[in-house]
């Protein structure tokens, strides 16, 4: 199957990354088409979760921890389903370990059978005895750490696009999502 793809740059103009400003059709494999269709639906679901996060952040900030772990698990499920055996085994624990280098509180989260659990962190939230600033900082770290894990997954998935313009477009699209999510997460005040 051959499909015609154009890439839209930040100004909304059609653009081919090989020959500037000239949209050129490329050969796109069935696998890429399938991956793209799946990603479009996945991102629509993730955007809805992000909307829920924005809604819950003022009423019940701790709810955003659950939403973020659900988000990670949704992407983990998608990666398993769409990439199959191409997905590295133990991807989630590795990503968690990598991210905990920058976000040390992330060690409070557990990965079990390639799914993330925020239960311990949520319990800790309810029983927090330290000061408010420390609490906010700790849970911000955990939240942003989960975003980092998510980013690892999405970057990995995007690498499966082999058509250059498509790979570039999806890299940008996933960046847009990660940036928007990061912004939403930073606006949560854990009190």
């Amino acid at each position: 199957m051959v499909r015609k793809f154009f890439v839209v740059d930040r100004e909304g103009d059609n653009k081919d990354y090989g020959q500037a400003f000239e949209p050129v059709p490329g050969q796109v494999s069935e696998d890429e088409v399938g991956l793209e269709t799946g990603l479009l639906l996945l991102l629509s679901e993730l955007a809805l979760l992000m909307e829920e996060l924005r809604e819950v952040k003022d009423k019940e900030p701790v709810g955003s921890l659950q939403i973020l772990s659900d988000t990670v698990n949704k992407v983990a499920g998608f990666a398993e389903e769409s990439l199959g055996g191409a997905l590295r085994e133990g991807f989630l624990p590795e990503a968690l370990l990598d991210a905990s280098g920058s976000f040390s509180h992330l060690k409070l989260l557990h990965a079990d059978r390639n799914r993330l659990s925020a239960r311990t962190a949520i319990n800790l939230y309810g029983g927090w005895t330290g000061d408010a600033d420390g609490k906010n900082q700790a849970f911000q770290q955990i939240s942003l750490g989960m975003v980092r894990v998510l980013e690892s997954y999405l970057i990995y998935i995007a690498e499966f696009f082999t058509t250059p313009c498509l790979a570039q477009e999806w890299k940008e699209t996933l960046e847009i999502y990660i940036n928007e999510l990061s912004e939403s997460v930073r606006s949560v005040v854990y009190r």
Binding site: F6, V8, L40, T173, I176, N179, E183
Partner: protein, 449 residues
Amino acid sequence: MRKHLAKLLVREGLVSAEQIRESTEYGEGSGIGLGESLAALGYVTEQQLVEFLSGEFGVPSMDIDACETDESALGLIPRETALEKFLVPVSVEGPDLTIAVSDPSNILMLDDLGFITGKNIKPVVASERSIRTKLTEYYGESGAARAQPDEEGSGEAGTEALDVNTEFQKKNEEGFVFDFTDGNGRRHDIPASESGGGPDLIETDIDTSVNAAEESGPGIEGTAPQAWNGIETYGESEDDDRDRASALHRDTELRAGDPAIQLNEVDGENAREPVSSGRITGTAFETPHEFDSPSNGDGYSTPDVESPGTAPVINAPVSPGRNEKTDGERGSVLIVDFSPTVRKIMRISLERAGYKVVSAGDGMQALASINESIPDLIFVDLKLPHMDGYQLCKVIKSHGLTKEIPVVVLSGKVGVLDKMKIKMAGASDFITKPFGPDALVGALEKYAK
């Protein structure tokens, strides 16, 4: 029956404006509602009315003559409320309270009932006569106690509560102006000329019109000003009920003077053809076709929600032109969604299907975009900053040049009340999130001309 419902009946061809006028007079004389009056005069049957309203608002109909209300349902609605709002409680099942109404469009009333009773209100449509009979039976009160003036006066009935002022300004020499009041009571003209009109502007307008006339045929200039003035006296925000029947009559006449219709008559062409061209320059939106912030392209940061006053400025009078289709292009789409992620994935989905896409992060940007170029269809998210999707839809649908553009609403959750609000705002359809490319393309294939 509220004024806008009467308009709807006329618009959909169920009855004529004259029949509405006569029935209103008849109803005032005999103390019954418009629905009953229409039926009494033989213009429409009760059953037809009920079926029409049921279909229009997606609310089931019910023959309440044949059923008895259970005591628990009766106990939930105070007698005064039932009489004042002209409704009959039907049944209560768990969290759901079913009520029969003759006007299913009164969203605020239904919201109020939900608040009063703590229940999920499930409306059903019944005839005015049936409701009156049941009210008399249950409350021993003549159904003639119906409080018609409350329909509009209670308030902000239905989507009119959205505080959208869709009147169009007389100063039509400024071009195509959307004028609305946002939720904070701030009034916006989009786009509003900061040059203040004056001779130069008028001269430019004439020049532009002449150019357009040369390209598109004669008769364009001169029609719009009359029509704008006409429309100014028309609109849902007009809240006087002094002469409802004659107002309705006038409305109907004015529709015939709508600019779109006049353009059709004069030009013999679609009213959405380009009339003149102009370019938006200025404060908020530098790029002419992409209304996402230039700094973020299709994302990277959310739109500045704190700057509703930074409406775009026009240098020359602008009237919207339709996007010209190129080979292989199936039409143009405007996406209005706060989320850069959603805008981006929608853009990918639609461009893959061959559509030209413009996107906007809020209603202000959307109206500015429409001012630049009229799309074949608009996707509108309900949750938007400054003015929500309902308001935006209503503004679009109230303007002669844009009312024919199909609007498809995007929303996470769509309940019965949401469906009614969407319908009332004039949207063609809705798509629930999350959605795949097929849902978007399907909507375009169904609604875009």
